[in-house]
Symmetry: C2
Subunit: 251 residues, 2 copies
């Protein structure tokens, strides 16, 4: 006897993340007919149905219409690469448009309000201290005329409180991971530490400014030479510095 292989709508719904109504709908339109029914009329789905559902959801994510999904799934391959390519093009165009909107929006917002992104109490709430502004003034003194700083200002001006919470969370995770790596005796130039360094670089790129490997190296130098950074990074600064260099060297 094969594994259970008999699921009711609710079960399938919970497993796949869609609603029961959606399954009813897909049954109705024949996109995903239930393989069978129980004596009392309950829809019963098999593992094969689940697999089909997975494929359906994949194409749905790509914003194909249900009808087109049906066609794609019906005939095994055939000329469907065209669909995929078209979809790919569409998505790339959308990506470009979105990027344009983003840029316009950021400029608009920067113009609208220079500086003050959060009220002092909100900053307090997030960072547990209100050193952020102080930190900012220091930073501006030193970096005010670099492109990275300007880009950082442009981007951070647009962040909401939720964004800051996430930034903080990511940063903390990264610091903790480094601490754990030291604990575990991972070498600073080993694969684990390098991966963490890469995370760190991407964190900066994502939230503050385009941070290539060269930039990252420069930043690493600061971690050991600038007391402000050393304060944030505590005893692990040296280790992080080493890891960043090792990571950058490998690219």
């Amino acid at each position: 006897m094969p594994p259970v292989d008999e699921y009711t709508v609710g079960t399938v719904a919970r497993m796949s993340g869609v609603s029961a109504r959606t399954l009813h709908h897909y049954d109705e339109i024949g996109l995903l007919p239930a393989s069978g029914r129980s004596e009392s009329g309950y829809r019963l789905y098999t593992d094969a149905d689940l697999e089909r559902l997975r494929r359906i959801l994949f194409y749905r994510e790509l914003e194909f219409g249900l009808e087109e999904i049906a066609r794609i799934l019906e005939d095994p391959e055939a000329g469907d690469d065209d669909h995929l390519r078209r979809q790919h093009r569409m998505l790339r165009e959308r990506q470009a448009r979105t990027a344009g909107l983003l840029h316009a929006l950021e400029q608009e917002m920067e113009a609208r309000q220079m500086g003050i992104k959060l009220t002092p109490e909100e900053q307090f709430e997030i960072f547990g201290t209100d050193k952020l502004e102080e930190h900012q003034q220091e930073a501006e003194q030193r970096w005010g005329d670099t492109d990275a700083w300007k880009e950082s200002q442009r981007r951070t001006a647009a962040y909401t409180k939720d964004d800051w919470v996430q930034i903080k969370a990511e940063a903390d995770t990264n610091i903790e991971a480094f601490a754990a790596a030291i604990e575990a005796g991972e070498p600073a130039d080993g694969p684990v530490a390098r991966a963490l360094a890469e995370d760190h670089r991407q964190h900066i790129s994502r939230w503050f400014y385009e941070c290539g490997y060269d930039m990252h190296r420069n930043l690493a130098a600061l971690y050991v030479s600038d007391p402000r950074f050393t304060k944030t990074w505590g005893g692990i600064a040296q280790y992080v510095h080493h890891a960043i260099l090792a990571n950058a060297a490998g690219r």
Copy 2:
């Protein structure tokens, strides 16, 4: 007397790119009521209406519901930058989501081994040679196990013929620009040459693989050391090499 300032639906439709029905709809739900009517009952829109429509379309592009757009526009900017932030956040989410979709789509396409993206005739038509295959195999031998190679394979698997035409056009433009810069006596480490090098880097990043400045430097080294590249770039290889290094150094 001010400029015309009296447009009928069809005119507005053509100017804004929406359908007349859409304008009817916006009128019906009160989102964009026509400022007036002609004697015969034609809707008449003013320049102010057009401005409002532009704003509506902007928010619509950001996937706000019409009802919410109405609320945003009605309220004379109370929490104005608040919803700007929300838009910004939404856009970034969409950006990330679309990037994910693109990635998934590319993997799917690569997995289906649609590697034969262009027929030999098309290859010849675009690149003026059908020896791409050999070239490709050589490259794979040498670079096959690098991340950049894999990323490039994944991404290019999804390109259409039109994409390739554009890629080729961009590349040619870049090469010609370099040639022109040499002709004009531009120094290889001057601003013009560096800008061209930056274009070149972005071209690669956009179409093939993430090419940071370090990576770009490595690539530059090949241009002067690897005969295959030297062939493509002819006599300007040395100059390009120099420009890339200069550009990377400034970042």
